[in-house]
């Protein structure tokens, strides 16, 4: 299967690593022969229509930026859009940085891939948060697959769990801790009694939070995930503007201490049920399976027959997210193989 990788940051690099590692095993066990034919980044691309060998991928990774400096395969200044339009491939893996203002350039990357008949795997929440109903419609119209399991829960298979493992059951509501950074901050505050600002600084030191932390602490990241869950699992055609959102900036130490006295704590909970989808700091009992510490994510599905099901896992990380990409690629490969021709 020929793959165009768009975006070469932490996740992009991890994807090439995951694809290159134990190559023979993938072919033998899954009949999956991933060939990266192009990598496009902001300042150019590398293209090899026959596919880069695992060794070559490693060389590219070690040389670093700009990737287009490669003497043999480098294409300086070639844009990602041009690569998607002109390079032959089955799948585009879109892992550029998130932009929740207008979702670009990822949105154009994805629609162009669809138009040119390429399946898409993405870990980018931006396009999904702003245009998920549109993208699912466009993928169906162009008869291509669109997978994005890395957007929710990183490597933890939250979307697949609901879609596949709970198939046939009716999911009535979803609640969860969908952002690791804020969960780390709230855990620090309640367990070590530090202020919000101190906890945030710690998170930044440890690399859990960005220098510009708004995406996490104002609840945007969690809200994006709520949009994805609502569309994909509960068939609600919503976008980011439909989510009522409150971040964790105003959660005080005092409030946390008072909650502790009641045997509870405060978590940033994303919630979808009959009403308006929300993201807001919510008090939950410490005995609630959702009540996980540190950077963990946890999601509870409330189902009609199987009751409450909770999935817990690390919600971010390059290799973790790359594993989700691999899962999606295998899924597409399986779907293509079994598709009646």
């Amino acid at each position: 299967m020929r793959i165009i990788l768009v975006g070469y940051g932490v996740v992009g690099k991890s994807v090439t690593t995951v694809l290159a590692r134990k190559y023979a095993e993938k072919v033998k066990d899954y009949g999956f022969n991933p060939k990266v034919v192009a990598i496009a980044d902001i300042d150019g691309a590398v293209i090899n229509q026959r596919g880069f060998s695992p060794e070559k991928l490693e060389t590219i990774r070690q040389r670093g930026y700009p990737i287009s400096a490669d003497p043999e395969f480098g294409r300086p200044r070639m844009s990602a859009l041009e690569v998607i339009e002109t390079v032959e491939a089955e799948v585009v893996v879109e892992v550029t940085p998130v932009n929740i203002k207008n979702a670009e350039p990822a949105l154009s990357h994805i629609t162009t891939a669809f138009k040119t008949g390429k399946h898409v795997v993405t870990t980018n929440k931006g396009p999904l948060a702003l245009a998920m109903p549109a993208l699912t419609e466009l993928a169906a119209y162009n008869n291509v697959y669109f997978r994005f399991s890395g957007t929710v829960g990183g490597g933890t298979p939250i979307l697949e769990f609901a879609k596949r493992c709970l198939a046939g059951d009716r999911i009535l509501a979803i609640r969860g801790i969908l952002n690791g950074t804020t969960n780390y901050i709230l855990t620090e505050m309640s367990q070590n009694h530090v202020t919000f600002q101190e906890a945030l600084t710690n998170a930044q030191k440890l690399g859990y939070a960005e220098a510009e932390p708004s995406m996490d602490i104002d609840g945007f990241d969690a809200a994006c995930k709520v949009v994805i869950l609502a569309n994909w699992i509960m068939n609600k055609k919503i976008t980011l503007k439909d989510v009522e959102r409150t971040g964790v900036r105003d959660v005080s130490l005092q409030a946390l201490e008072e909650a502790a006295k009641r045997g509870s704590t405060i978590k940033l909970i994303g919630s979808i049920d009959g009403d308006k989808p929300t993201v807001k700091p919510t008090e939950i009992a410490k005995t609630n399976p959702l009540c996980v510490s540190g950077v963990l994510n946890a999601v509870t599905f409330f189902t009609e027959y199987a009751g409450e099901q909770t999935v817990i896992g690390k919600g971010a990380g390059g290799m973790e997210t790359a594993s989700a990409v691999l899962r999606d690629l295998l899924d597409i490969r399986h779907k293509l193989a079994t598709k009646p021709t």
Binding site: T111, F114, K115, L130, A131, P133, A134, L135, T136, E137, L138, Y141, N142, K237
Partner: protein, 469 residues
């Protein structure tokens, strides 16, 4: 503040004076607490002329083509001079129209030289009607001191499949794009003027929406903008109980359900095509059909729920002329699976649309209604394909018939409607040739001799007290 999408049909924008009137109407609502998005058709008759000239161009008739574009330019320039008073605006609008016509000229010349008219190039030619009318409406609005901006369906962001001539919008993708192009303007108080009927596929190639046309654009826009109502401005006061030409006491129907309105499609241009209703049905947005000439009349409101208290089971009765009836019979059809399918397949393959079907449980014959203009072709193709093969022994036709359709959602589950209906028809001395009623029970259609048509409609209209509505 209410958000309203207003669509104006060809007659509403037929002349410069009419366009000025349209601009005044829009201005009135824009001044009175409404945010208005406008959808316009081509000037009356222009789309048909474009269809004709495209065919002429294919035959290589360059002279006719040149004469046509010249005339078209003159008509639009005259309209500009009547619709817009401000000289500067006149000039600007003329510039747009002139350059659009020169583009049309190039397209037609291309067709002349290639001698080929594909569905794709045909849609391109057809798109010019609206592309010429929208800037004039936009100019007239600016003349009334409103900020306005015109868009082609393509620029507005209406994305369809590539089924040229009958393209279907990709609704979610379209909504996403319209929210980026039109919505911000509307919220700022600018009046967007969008060409009806035309759109583009995902590669930006111009498509047309086909059946439903500009009404379809209006409802798509209504859904994408989450409008409070979609208004279809036309030259009649609304949907009537029957054709006022037959029965002068025909009344306007104040309210209809979506389902009923869809059944009324056979009222032709005076109603809405069911296809155009689809987007609003899903979103539950009301549609109002009203007259530009009587703007104080509220028109017909089409909503999810029909009016609260049903007075009569029958709401409207239509007379459909220009039809013909075919009877296909043969003992070989009895008990033979697929025999009806064969008849319909032959007609379908020859592009003959079947309007009505009736078969008896005896299976020995099948009656069909088709447009009268298609009768001889239908008859001939059926004979060639089916006679002498043991299945069908005879195909006969009657072309002196008409269809009467009786509609109303409350017929559903009401006992005795058919009995009352057919008793009425019998009392009027009219013989019924063929009957069809689907299990939805929203509509009973039957065929009578053409000369009896009006008598039957009059009797039904009276019996169900439609003039008292």
């Amino acid at each position: 503040m209410k958000k309203i999408v207003m669509k104006f049909g060809g007659t509403s924008v037929g002349t410069g004076e009419n366009i000025r009137h349209v601009a005044e109407l829009v201005a009135h609502y824009a001044r009175n607490d409404c945010k208005v998005a406008v959808v316009v058709s081509a000037l009356a008759g222009v789309t048909n002329q474009l269809v004709d000239i495209a065919e002429q161009a294919k035959k290589g008739d360059e002279k006719k083509m040149q004469a046509f574009t010249k005339e078209l330019a003159e008509r639009h320039v005259t309209a500009i001079s009547k619709a817009i008073l401000n000289k500067q605006l006149q000039k600007e609008t003329e510039k747009v129209v002139t350059s659009t016509i020169s583009e049309l000229n190039k397209v037609l010349t291309g067709i002349c030289y290639v001698g080929e008219l594909t569905p794709k190039s045909r849609d391109y030619v057809l798109s010019f009607g609206e592309r010429l009318s929208a800037p004039i409406v936009c100019g007239a609005l600016k003349d009334s001191k409103f900020e306005a901006q015109f868009f082609t369906g393509k620029d507005a962001g209406i994305v369809t499949d590539s089924n040229f001539g009958e393209a279907d919008p990709l609704m979610d993708y379209t909504a996403h794009r319209i929210r980026l192009t039109i919505l911000p303007l509307l919220e700022k108080g600018v009046i967007p003027v969008v060409t009806g009927f035309i759109a583009a596929d995902q590669d930006g190639v111009v498509t047309t929406l086909g059946r439903g046309g500009s009404d379809y654009t209006a409802t798509v826009l209504g859904v994408a903008l989450a409008a409070d109502e979609v208004w279809i401005w036309t030259d009649v006061d609304g949907i009537m109980t029957t054709d006022p030409k037959i029965i002068p006491s025909a009344k306007k129907l104040p309210r209809l359900s979506y389902q009923e309105a869809a059944e009324m499609a056979i009222f032709g241009a005076k109603a809405m095509h069911p296809r155009a209703l689809e987007p609003v049905i899903k979103a539950g947005i009301p549609v109002r059909i009203r007259s530009v000439f009587h703007p104080d009349n509220e028109g017909t409101l089409i909503t999810k729920e029909p009016e609260i208290k049903p007075t009569e089971v029958v709401k409207a009765v239509a007379l459909i002329k220009d039809v013909a009836m075919l009877n296909v019979s043969g003992g070989g059809m009895v008990g033979a699976p697929g025999s009806y399918a064969k008849v319909l397949e032959v007609l379908g393959k020859n592009d003959i649309n079947v309007m009505m079907i009736s078969t008896a449980v005896s299976e020995a014959n099948m009656s069909l209604v088709v447009r009268r203009s298609l009768l001889s072709r239908a008859l001939s193709t059926l004979e060639i394909a089916l006679l002498g093969r043991g299945l069908v022994s005879e195909v006969t036709a009657e072309d002196d018939v008409c269809v009467i359709a009786v509609m109303g959602a409350n017929m559903q589950g009401t006992l005795g409607v058919a009995s009352r209906l057919f008793t009425t028809v019998a009392r009027a001395g009219v013989n019924i040739r063929m009957i069809a009623q689907g299990s939805s029970e929203l509509n009973i259609s039957f065929v009578v001799k053409e000369k009896d048509g009006e008598t039957a409609v009059r009797a039904i209209h009276e019996e169900f007290k439609l003039d008292k509505a």
